[in-house]
Amino acid sequence: MDLNTIWFLLTGVFLTGYAILDGFDLGIGILHLFIRKEQDRLINMRAISPLWDGNEVWLIAGTGSLFAVFPLAYATILSAFYFLFIMLLFSLIFRAISIEFRNKESSQKWQHFWDRGFGLGSLTASFIFGVMLGNIINGLPINKEGIFASDIILLLNPYSIMIGLLILTIFTMHGGIYMTLKTDGVLQEKMRRSVFISWIAFIILYSSAIISTLIISPIMFDGLLNRPLSFVLAFIQFATTIFIVMAIKRNRFISAFVSSSLLIAATICLLGLSLFPLLVPSRIDLLYSLTIYNAASRPYTLFVMLIIASISFPLVIAYSVYVHRIFKGKVDTSEEEGY
């Protein structure tokens, strides 16, 4: 295995880490829009306030690594999706300050404003991630020069909107499952129901996504059919999807959370397997596509980055696990608000 392939895998690890960790964060934010009772909203937000920041670093570290190891992909994706990224940044900013500002004032108006900011910010961010993904699967109009820009209207096509909704649904389901772990009583019951609803939406959207991809971008499946691993991954997807409802029905919330994390991981692996060795397919001519070779840094940079990653990754995982463990269990609102 060469360095480029290793970094393709590691980029997948970043993406998976981010999707699993910030995925439940974002999902909880989306669910926040549907919670009416004051106390419940407080619990909902408190469930992630110590953790969201650490989770979001996966996005920052992942983007930084993409910049270092596949600079041309980084430059192309970020400039091509200029306005999508502006919208994403605004959503993330709004969401972050909403979490921090909400409980600084006791007036209802103030809190409701930030509740909405938290919810809508999470909703838009998840949706935009999906829209970007949809556009990448669909292929971008990359020409010989490699760098281009697209109109926002073209980026919001029906296919990418569907992928946007799909991602939104996965995150909502994932967040709902996480919240069943953090709550009890009526709120927990509410979260359980939300999981069933988003589960059904997920099944519908995911099947439609597969069918549309077959029609729009059949090359995505070429890679999959030749690689036996894809069948294993598809089976994992299937099994975990079924297992989620079974576990939720039997109140085995930890198992449900593990399955939905596995589902996310398997989905990203499948995506990677069908793209490999492409990073961003070109719609104009596949030859202009950005691959893990033509978009990559020189081997020495890849090597240096590998060393940096292999030293820091175990540390990051160790203290992330440590911090997450301290805040595990039901949300405790008995202490003085905030700190």
Partner: protein, 435 residues
Amino acid sequence: MDVVLLSRLQFFLTICFHFIFVSINIGLSWLLVTIELFGWRKNSGVIYVGIANFLSRLFGITFVIGVATGIVMEFQIGMNWARFSGFAGDIFGTLLASEGLIAFFLESSFLGLYLFGRNKVPHGIHWLSILMVAIGSTVSAFWIISANSWQQTPAGFVIREGRAELTSLRDVVFNPSTIPRFFHTIDASLIVASFFVAGIASYLLLENKKIDEAMKLIKITIITGLIFSVFQLFPFGHNHAIQVALTQPEKFAVYEAVYETQSHAPLIIFGIPTTTEPGIMWPVKIPGLLSLITFGDVSATIKGIKDFPPEDMPPRIIPFVSFHIMVTLGIYFIMVMLYGAVQLYRKRLWHKKIFLKLLFLSIPLPIVASELGWIAAEVGRQPWIIYKIMKTGDGASTAIPASNIASSVVLFILLYTLIGILYVYLIRREIKRWT
């Protein structure tokens, strides 16, 4: 306006705003490490824990805005500066990735533990968590400064097939300006935090509230403020200036308004910059001093603006003005803190109402000085995005319509104004709530 100018404007606005919160917090994190340490004391510990609790609220608000506006920076480089990213990603990207992997994970993970874990973990672990936040932010700053310094004084690479290729990570990270810039910036942040907290403490003293806490805070911050303000003049600011003189002589000539190449170059204490040559009206000069402080020799020659190719020269007025106001403010900081320290020693500080008021009003000044320092450094780097390697205009994304960038600039101004107002409001509210 064209795409390049709009992209520069957007970068300028977003990074200046981001840096306000970063500079407050790097310094504040170290102050918190110190104050939390006092919290271990047997008798007076409780009061310090109270202070730390209060400051950690301010820290939390500031940190979130810093993070939220920081993501913008990392994304913006690819969004608006795609050709620069493609050309220098091997190097610049490695530095940004290291920041995320080595430092930012650390500070963000432990911040949650620090802010929310006081009753969940043992005292020692809680203290370690703020220590990790402080180390994380400082190391984070190191990587970002290293990346910026590489743009100023690039090293450790070759250009092959139209791209910068890494040859030595050590030379890249420790390029000639990293270390001077790092110390200068961190020290600036410590001054910012000292004034920030000293200002709040003087407000409390003036209002006659939380007197015990305010006295402890003002004692600590006047001492730190004095030490770090003096260090900023010498050695940190001084060393940084010498490094600029050696590695970016065009910028140095513009800073000091040296028009003709000359030995016994005078130090201009004051002057009005103009667009006509030699560029300075009514200069107040001390003969030979510039040569002396820069090269330790009155007769040392300093190359003047006239003798550089005009196309390599940065704009002259903005760097000169920013640099000089920064230096003036730096001297003001030393005088204020020196006066405060003397009054503190004579135990007369709390009678000096006017001084306390001045200290309160000075809260924003170190931030202004830091921003001006960066403006001088970055405008002084022009016309290069990578000094002597790539022109700024050649680094921009070409395919984004100017109208798109213009609208994102407007949106950023609106959003950041809102956040700025909310920030001041919430900080004031936290102070009120405490008292």
